[in-house]
Symmetry: C2
Subunit: 302 residues, 2 copies
């Protein structure tokens, strides 16, 4: 079967099970020749097809049905293929699906409920959500919401994420997670909402609050109707435990999601106290898209 | 037609032309619902199909047949979709196909014969191929092979690339290309091989030689049989015009292409003079893969 523009092989199979076996065998042969883009079974039919793009060259074949899923769409919804060569870990925690995949170039990647969360290559993320190396943390009180990767007072809801970081992501967390309490840090395995409320009630204040929660945070008891109200609740509580001259760092989203970013910025106008913010656009290697980070601070009192 | 695992709609069309019109209309409706992965015409047949991945969510649909090609596979051959929203320029020069596409997040992207060459987002590339900001260029003689984006003595074979940089890539080249000769720089629109030979014959030497040629360089008169021999010819000539304590900077390739990188490093062992090298792995935003850069220098004389 010679390669041809939009060529397709449509064939009748005896039974569904047979079909899948045959297709699996054929898939290998065609992939080897860079010819197959698709192998489908459809009831008792199977088909293979190839595609040549406008420049006359093949697009890389889409690999289906393997043990390893290589396609993890970006936040912006673009189709991208990762160089995943191993599924290291794949378990449901009480809060989310957690996977550790291995990428040839990005190293271990933590994927939470289908979202690429952090890879060993992504020092840029960790640097930026701490203020791009422009902050002096010595003697400062720091509160981290989420994160899983260990610093100062960190509140992480999911023990499974901590365990995965300890086992696979040592390049990002070092030895910090060996003990959940050290001389200068503690890790609380708790939902951050009641923790923030407790701190606010006690009048505890921090120089820095770093929100490293997932883009849509998990809560055991969401009190608000919409994601945006929930995000605003976290923001409001964070501002309550932030010193007047403190800084709040958080990730935004893909730079292309202008509407979502605008909605987030609108929430910043509806907090209990007036705030100002700046944003930076950063390339996080394994994300395969540019990412927005925010710095938020309380407006100086007049 | 409800979304279903591997659902497919196979239908008979009256004529090829009709089929394409109908498919184009249907494609829009299905894409809007995130349902279509593929729209094909096959002789007088058309079909649409959807795919649901293992996590039960759709992969983003593959968009076919539009005016804009969004799929530009990486050097490592992974399928990646770019957020291209405009084909700004698309012409064949005497040497290569040159395109300027616009990406929502990466800005203008120069694509040379199908390879993503540089985008406005890619300051990291320009910084690294100049030695990551660790070099002091004041009073130094610098020779740039290729590049198109203008510095010191630059030898660029393709006037069309210069014109595209001037028109679309001002963020990367500034005003330098307005004149091909300035107080401290000149741009030669020539094949770099005869230029290097001329300089070598004249005994001209540089502090820095920056090889910013495309991964597989263009030549008007390749004298060598294989790409590797041609690459070694450029390396050898470059070493001939490099001062004893000078540095040669060049890009390698995707970090995953370990065999190609190893072959390149082997070439470095077969030059007319002994050399040493170091390498860095850099994230160039628009490449969507990690990229290796080399620094090569002449081994100190014993």
């Amino acid at each position: 079967m010679a390669a041809a523009r939009h060529s397709m092989l449509d064939f009748k199979l005896g039974a569904r099970a047979d079909g899948e076996t045959i297709l699996k065998g054929l898939q290998f042969i065609f992939q080897e020749q860079g010819m197959t883009e698709l192998v489908y079974t459809w009831q008792d039919h199977g088909y293979l097809s190839t595609y040549i793009n406008k420049n006359g060259s093949f697009l890389p074949p889409i690999l289906r049905g393997g043990a390893i899923d290589r396609y993890w769409p970006t936040a912006h919804g673009r189709l991208v293929e990762y160089d995943i060569d191993e599924v290291v870990y794949d378990e449901d925690s009480p809060y989310q699906n957690t996977k550790i995949l291995h990428s040839k170039q990005f190293g271990y990647i933590l994927i939470l409920s289908g979202d690429v969360n952090l890879a060993e290559s992504d020092l840029a993320f960790t640097q930026d959500i701490k203020g791009s190396g422009k902050e002096d943390y010595s003697g400062k009180d720091v509160l981290i919401l989420g994160g899983g990767d260990g610093m100062v007072t960190m509140v992480e809801i999911d023990q499974m994420v901590i365990d995965e970081y300890k086992k696979y992501m040592r390049k990002t967390c070092g030895d910090v997670l060996n003990n959940l309490k050290g001389d200068s840090y503690q890790v609380l395995i708790e939902d951050c909402i009641p923790v923030l409320k407790r701190y606010a009630k006690e009048g505890r204040e921090f120089d820095y609050v770093i929100n490293d929660l997932t883009a849509v945070p998990i809560s055991t008891s969401p009190e608000e109707d919409s994601t945006w109200e929930f995000l605003r609740l976290i923001l409001d509580l964070s501002m309550k435990v932030l010193k007047q001259d403190g800084k709040y760092f958080t990730q935004g989203n893909c730079v292309n999601l202008t509407e979502a970013l605008l909605l987030y910025e609108e929430q910043l106008g509806h907090l209990y106290c007036p705030v100002e913010f700046s944003k930076e656009i950063i390339c996080v290697p394994s994300y395969l898209e540019l990412w927005v980070f925010y710095t938020v601070w309380k407006k100086a009192k007049p």
